[in-house]
């Protein structure tokens, strides 16, 4: 920053440096190419203006090698940038295994976050420094987008599915949190701050928020209240698969296929149980679509995940 005018955004996450490296490389490439072309056009325009004495004789027709060489050159350069961007992008899908898992729920027009310990905050997100954090995003109404410019991350929260975004904050401080997907009247008001704190401060902050009920505990209560335990419980009469340790495990389906019980599978099994039926079970489970809201679904998922000994947060198969 110079004189309060922002020229370059702050780099405050482990990814930011990588993204910026690509950005600045692209910037240099574009500047060189753009200015060369500008120079060429302006140069020609001046040199060959009407009435100038420039030499206009000589080769006039197109040259094959010239056209071929710039085509091939652009192709190679384009593929380099493609590969570079893709490698960084694919990393978004692989959060570290030991990440702290926070749920984020978008609704018109606020972000509601829940820490693993159940502490709830609106338009504020507190995270520890130097520790991987996964935010699993859902939306209660329209599409929103979780955007922290200083971290160079962005992810839409889409109604009807769970998406993930992860980061490792590298510098304590307060950073803008925006909603980047237009979501209605107060779109520009939807957002607030991400506060990155030293681990001990973060722990103190968590304590000061009071011992809320953890997400998993809330999910367990729901699990009973909704009657899930009636069938999935150990001593139930209806035969339903046991859910102990289900998360992250392969599940055999009745159509001879196998899927990993990831968040997508668990979510679909609750809302659309007929879609993928575990082998050997009758398709008798009713759909809970419309009976539970996104926040309750997030709690249920947290509970189901807590039944697995080694929660691999947000891991995809």
């Amino acid at each position: 920053m110079s004189f309060g005018v922002p020229f370059f955004p702050h780099e405050a996450s482990s990814e930011a440096g990588y993204v910026d490296a690509l950005f600045y490389t692209l910037l240099v490439f574009s500047a060189v190419l753009g200015l060369t072309l500008t120079g060429l056009v302006v140069g020609y325009a001046v040199k060959y203006r009407v009435g100038s004495k420039a030499d206009r004789t000589g080769q006039r027709s197109r040259t094959m090698w010239l056209e071929m060489s710039w085509t091939v050159a652009s192709l190679i350069i384009a593929f380099i940038f493609f590969g570079w961007g893709a490698v960084l992008f694919v990393r978004r899908d692989h959060p570290p295994a030991d990440a702290l898992e926070i749920t984020g729920l978008g609704k018109q027009w606020m972000w509601e976050f829940k820490q693993p310990g159940g502490q709830r905050e609106i338009n504020e997100l507190h995270v520890p420094v130097d520790k991987p954090v996964v935010v699993s995003l859902a939306s209660q109404d329209v599409i929103h987008s979780f955007y922290v410019p200083a971290f160079r991350i962005k992810q839409d929260a889409v109604p009807g599915r769970t998406t993930h975004v992860w980061f490792i904050a590298t510098e304590p401080g307060r950073y803008h949190l925006f909603c980047a997907q237009y979501c209605g009247t107060q779109h520009s008001e939807m957002g607030g701050w991400v506060t990155v704190m030293a681990p001990e401060q973060y722990a103190a902050w968590l304590n000061s928020q009071g011992e809320g009920e953890t997400l998993a505990a809330g999910g367990e209560k729901l699990f009973r209240a909704l009657g899930c335990s009636g069938c999935h419980g150990a001593s139930s009469k209806v035969r339903a698969p046991s859910l102990d340790g289900i998360f992250g495990r392969p599940v055999a389906l009745d159509n001879q296929q196998t899927v990993i019980a990831d968040e997508r599978y668990l979510r679909d099994s609750i809302l659309n149980p007929k879609k993928e039926i575990a082998a050997g079970y009758e398709p008798v489970m009713p759909s809970f679509d419309g009976l539970i809201d996104e926040g309750e679904l997030q709690m249920l998922l947290a509970y189901l995940k807590s039944l697995s000994p080694q929660p691999t947060a947000g891991a995809k198969p």
Binding site: L26, Y48, A86, F89, I143, G184, T185, E189, D289
Partner: protein, 547 residues
């Protein structure tokens, strides 16, 4: 306008309202479009200026959030569907396509007139939506916001856009059939002016992409009016599917908006440098390539939408591929100037500015196609700056270039060259002042469609708002001096620029059915270097006299 000198030209065929509104002459239909599009351009532009004034301060002090959202939604809807998509094809394309290929009219003149009426009918719906209370979905109509939550006149506006889509398809079919069946003897495909190639490629996109937009708009209207929940997540509908359908149209639509502009520039640059277009075949083929590849890249609008990372990688790869034909074109245009004899009349100034603005807009596209960078700048002002460099800096600049280039053919009059050069320069300066700061805003993380913003972004926003005022002046100037020339301008010669195209072999303005005798073509396009004429201003009359 009608007087003795216009007798025998298309302008002399009756001047009453009836003679204009019922004429199937493609040249008069072009005027109907030109007048309606100019109105829409300034309506959409006025909304943009209001937004920029609002954004001069971080707080939302000029208009309320609801009004602001309606402003940008309608600015997008009007500019995209009621100006940019029909802009060059329906005005200059309509006027020039038959002239350039030596035909008496388009293949279906009545369909052509009907397309204008359909356009007006559809746009009245959109205007009704504006007057009745506006639309607040953004021009993208994303579900479920548009179907379940928006409280504006979404169905009205969507229906208007749907109807205008039909007008687009009619124009597209007409152009495709005309190019295939009505070329003059000797006018082979590789003798066609690039402008015709780009119109052909554009029509292809219009015909094949617009119906998909129509389908998605039908589904939105059904959901709002009849309660059939196709994209409703509560019923299992997929909001992302709407985005797929929408961008299947709307990304190629970007090429509908830029290809004809590329065509205009390919006409103007050779003419004012007295050189054949460098690499004619490469430019022609890259137009077709852009039209086809343009359909393969829509997913790059959805990298962070929740579509699979695999799809993201595929779409990014394809997006880089589509950059190649555009790059080829820029190189070819630049080298066309080499060893030329360049003069800087208004159309040439606009064309050169196009070259610069399009290049810097296109280069920003590389940032957006690069996955990890797009994650950061997606849905920020970086994107706004990028596509305004292409759509406004590219297409509108080319539109102005074409309007000045063919003004004499359209009207039989000349405009003031000094006023034209000043307006072109003011536009260029104003444009860069408006949109370059938006790159900075986007890179620093200011999301788009924000009514209020954190104070540290104010510096760039003030610059941008100041630029918008300059830009508005640049666009208002032609309205006056071109309007003035319509009645008071000097009589234009048939071929004021000594250009080669068939359209210049008719009188200015052309007679009702364009050609008294069917022209026969014996030369490639842009034969500015015909033997013995290398350093001469090419003129068909002179050539005839020499023979």
């Amino acid at each position: 306008m009608t007087n003795a000198a216009m007798q025998g030209t298309y302008l002399g065929q009756g001047s009453g309202l009836r003679a204009w509104l019922l004429s199937t002459d493609h040249k008069r239909v072009a005027w109907l479009y030109l007048i309606s599009l100019t109105a829409f351009f300034f309506l959409g532009g006025a909304m943009a200026v209001l937004m920029r004034i609002e954004l001069a301060t971080p707080a939302g002090d000029l208009v309320s959030d609801d009004v602001y959202n309606r402003l940008f939604s309608l600015h997008g809807i009007i500019m995209v569907w009621f100006f940019l998509v029909p802009s060059i094809p329906a005005t200059m394309g309509n006027f020039l396509l038959p002239l350039m290929i030596g035909a008496r009219d388009l293949a279906f003149p009545r369909l052509n007139l009907a397309s204008w009426y359909v356009f007006i009918f559809g746009s009245l719906f959109a205007l009704f939506a504006v007057v009745a209370g506006g639309v607040d979905t953004g021009w993208t109509f994303y579900t479920p916001l548009s179907t379940l939550y928006a409280n504006g006149f979404v169905s009205t506006a969507a229906f208007g856009v749907f109807v205008v889509g039909f007008s687009t398809i009619m124009t597209g079919i007409n152009f495709i059939v005309t190019v295939h069946t009505l070329r003059a003897p000797g006018l082979t495909w590789f003798r066609l002016p690039i402008f015709v190639w780009t119109l052909y490629a554009t029509s292809l996109v219009m015909v094949l992409a617009t119906p998909v937009l129509a389908a998605s708009l039908i589904l939105i209207v059904l959901e709002r009016v009849f309660g059939i929940g196709i994209f409703n997540p509560d019923l299992g509908g997929d909001p992302l599917l709407f985005q797929h359908l929408f961008w299947f149209y709307s990304h190629p639509a970007v090429y509908i908006m830029i290809l004809p502009g590329m065509g205009v520039v390919s006409e103007v640059l050779p003419c004012f440098s007295r050189r054949p277009l460098f690499g004619y075949k490469a430019v022609a083929m890259s137009s077709m390539a852009i039209a086809v590849f343009g359909f393969l890249v829509w997913g790059h609008h959805m990298f962070v939408s929740g579509q699979s990372a695999y799809a993201g990688v595929v779409f990014s790869f394809l997006s880089f591929c589509v950059a190649i034909p555009s790059a080829i074109k820029v190189f070819n245009w630049s080298l066309t100037l080499r060893k030329g004899e360049i003069s800087f009349e208004t159309p040439m100034l606009y064309a050169l500015f196009f070259l610069g603005l399009f290049t810097f807009g296109g280069l920003a596209g590389l940032f957006l196609a690069a996955l990890a960078v797009d994650v950061h700048v997606h849905d920020t002002y970086f994107v706004i700056a990028h596509f305004h460099y292409i759509m406004v800096g590219g297409m509108v600049t080319a539109y102005m270039a074409g309007l000045h280039f063919w003004w004499s053919k359209l009207t039989g009059r000349m405009y003031s060259e000094t006023a034209g050069r000043i307006a072109a320069t003011v536009t260029f300066v104003g444009f860069n002042l408006t949109f370059f700061p938006q790159y900075m805003l986007g890179f620093n993380g200011m999301p788009r469609r924000y009514h209020t913003y954190p104070p540290e972004f104010q510096f760039w926003n003030v610059l941008s708002s100041a630029g918008a005022v300059v830009l508005a002046i640049g666009y208002l100037m032609p309205l006056f001096y071109l309007g003035w020339s319509l009645f008071r301008g000097a009589r234009a010669p048939d071929n004021p620029w000594n250009a080669t195209g068939l359209e210049w072999q008719t009188s200015s303005p052309p007679p009702p059915h364009n050609f008294e005798t069917m022209p026969v073509v014996t030369r490639p396009a842009y034969a500015y270097d015909m033997k013995g004429l290398e350093h001469e201003r090419f003129s068909p009359h002179r050539e005839e006299a020499a023979r």
